[in-house]
């Protein structure tokens, strides 16, 4: 259940309360997020929409522990992350967050397998265990036959699927997607969205996604709109838009 009014009490996977974020640019203070509340339950697929500069990416960065709020709190699975030190936040990200970026951000000198393995190098898993996890993640995204390819040998859609495999390989608490289809053609975008839907439906992942594209947002269970730093619940779109609907 997604709520934006802070009325969900202490239940839910992600709880955001009175979240403020201000920047100073030059002499001017920019109030990006203003008193934002949000509750997301486990297994939800939430899309954030809004015009440029509305604070979508800032919200995603705060939820992912990449940035710290000016005021307010974020609690994920009972961990209050807003007061964690930088080192603790880094450890927390490694355990709980899977990132999917618009530009894929794969390491070009590493193969698909090695890219997906990166988060696991921080764990105590043995080489054999790591291999098993990576192979599973790559098979979920349908790239078992591309594991020894370098990013330059893959299409944009395949690169994004490798990024998704990297995001899920360590079985994080939730996935954060920043314009995951922003650099893809419609067909590839549709494949990526179908994959995210499957991760939610079959693997019970929680996905929070920022997008400009209403058709992509429509694939999520819930769409929330950010406008001038304020979060408003959007109309719930039908969940099962046909794959061709984003074409």
């Amino acid at each position: 259940m997604v709520k934006v009014d802070g009325s969900n009490g202490q239940s839910g996977l992600i709880q955001v309360r009175d979240l403020d974020k201000r920047y100073r640019r030059g002499g001017e203070e920019i109030h990006v997020l203003q008193g934002l509340n949000l509750d997301v339950s486990a297994g939800e697929f939430v899309a954030f929409m809004g015009p440029s500069g509305s604070g979508k990416t800032t919200l995603l960065n705060l939820l992912g522990g990449l940035d710290v709020p000016t005021r307010g709190s974020i609690t994920v699975a009972d961990d209050e992350i807003t007061h964690m030190s930088s080192g603790k936040l880094t450890e927390w990200r490694a355990r709980h967050v899977g990132f999917i970026f618009q530009m894929y951000n794969l390491i070009p000198v590493l193969t698909a397998f090695q890219n997906v393995e990166l988060p696991l190098l921080l764990t105590k898993l043995s080489k054999t265990e790591r291999r098993a996890h990576v192979e599973t993640a790559l098979s979920i995204v349908g790239l078992s036959d591309r594991m020894n390819h370098f990013p330059r040998q893959l299409s944009g859609g395949q690169e994004q699927r490798v990024t998704i495999a990297r995001a899920i390989v360590s079985d994080p608490t939730f996935l954060l997607c920043d314009e995951p289809t922003g650099d893809l053609d419609r067909k590839s975008a549709d494949e990526v969205m179908a994959l995210l839907e499957e991760l939610v439906a079959s693997h019970h992942k929680t996905v929070l996604m920022v997008t400009h594209d209403p058709l992509v947002a429509a694939r999520a269970q819930t769409t929330l709109h950010l406008d001038k730093g304020v979060l408003v619940e959007g109309s719930k779109l039908p969940h099962s838009i046909p794959a061709g609907g984003v074409a």
Partner: protein, 382 residues
């Protein structure tokens, strides 16, 4: 070790740049080691000096002689174990360019005073019996392809001038790598016999060994007091102090070598540092991804430092290998122009230390920059 693959893969991101950086590192390190070896050659006198040896020269200057008759008086000073004397001959072999140090020696005590310079007994005995005999250092003999039994003509403009001929009766070797093997020795008796009357009974300097090195200052003082106010006052000092004083005459050369070495070091630092800075700047977004997925600031610093150190170790290793291969040849080519140059193990360790320090310094600033990188800012730059 599981992170080594990441470091290795990043190194080969730009192969030509890597090759050029490693190449410049290797050449610079070779040059650095070579300069260090040359500097060491100038300083070696102090290193090879015996702790129990004293050198006595004329207080006016080393080119002024001292009477031979001082020897017995010096020997009577308590604590003096053995004494010998040398003269500088200043000749050349066949051509002017074939210059090397020739010393007139006192065969009776030379080996007791310089036990580190080894002459086989049979060769030494032949030399002692041969009035015109000579002993050459191993490097000198190799330089001119001399062998025992050869007749060696030495021309000099001192001591009445002319060509003196010697029979090569022996070849000496140093016990340690730093021992000078470029000297040529011949007998005092032959010298004394041939020099004009005004030079007779005059030696260049005395070298003596004392029973206890702790007594050296007292003995030196006693010797100089003994000949105070005589026509030939003496100046006695430890062999290392004497050698250090000798090196001071090359003060400008030493400064020059140090200056060039410093410039080479900083150039090397700037080249490698620039490469690392460019490399880090090029992958700002990748480093941000590492941090986003849970790699700590220290891990990112480690990656950058490991890359810089790997370049340094490979480039440095090649530079040292180059030095190992080239310095013996350069030493031969420069023989006579420079003191003999030897690539001793401490020089190799020094080269490795310079390589590691340079690698660390060139990586630390870009590494700290990468460490301080904020993921949000870095992603915004993409």
């Amino acid at each position: 070790m599981k992170f080594a693959r990441i470091v290795w893969a990043n190194l080969f991101r730009k192969k030509i740049r890597l090759l050029l950086t490693i190449g410049s590192f290797a050449v610079a390190l070779f040059l650095f080691v070579f300069l260090a070896v040359v500097r060491d050659a100038f300083n070696r006198g102090a290193d090879v000096a015996g702790a129990d040896r004293l050198v006595i020269i004329n207080r006016t200057s080393i080119i002024n002689p001292i009477p031979l008759k001082y020897r017995d008086q010096i020997l009577r000073i308590p604590g003096v174990k053995v004494i010998t004397h040398n003269n500088w001959f200043g000749g050349t072999y066949i051509e002017e360019k074939n210059f090397f140090p020739q010393f007139v020696i006192d065969p009776e005590n030379q080996r007791q005073v310089f036990p580190e310079l080894i002459v086989p007994d049979d060769q030494w005995n032949a030399f002692v019996k041969d009035r015109v005999g000579a002993i050459a250092g191993a490097q000198l003999a190799e330089r001119f392809h001399w062998k025992i039994g050869d007749r060696i003509p030495i021309k000099t403009t001192l001591y009445g001038g002319g060509a003196w001929e010697f029979n090569l009766d022996g070849i000496y070797h140093g016990k340690r790598p730093q021992d000078d093997e470029t000297q040529f020795w011949f007998q005092w008796d032959y010298f004394e016999e041939r020099v004009p009357e005004s030079f007779k009974g005059q030696i260049g300097w005395y070298i003596l060994r004392v029973d206890n090195p702790d007594d050296a200052p007292r003995i030196a003082k006693s010797i100089d007091e003994l000949f105070m106010n005589s026509p030939n006052e003496t100046k006695t000092e430890t062999e290392s102090a004497f050698a250090a004083g000798w090196v001071k005459q090359f003060g400008n050369i030493q400064t020059l070598i140090l200056s060039i070495g410093t410039v080479v070091f900083f150039t090397l630092l700037l080249v490698t540092g620039n490469t690392m800075a460019i490399s880090v700047r090029e992958r700002t977004s990748e480093l941000a991804v590492f941090k986003a997925i849970g790699y700590s600031d220290r891990a990112v610093l480690f990656f950058v430092l490991a890359e810089a150190l790997t370049i340094a170790i490979i480039g440095g290793g090649l530079g040292i290998l180059l030095a190992l291969l080239a310095i013996p040849g350069l030493g031969k080519a420069l023989s006579g122009l420079l003191p003999s140059i030897v690539l001793a193990p401490p020089m190799l360790l020094f080269g490795i230390a310079v390589a590691i320090i340079t690698g660390f310094l060139s990586g630390i600033l870009p590494g700290l920059g990468a460490m301080r990188l904020r993921v949000v800012n870095a992603m915004r730059r993409v």
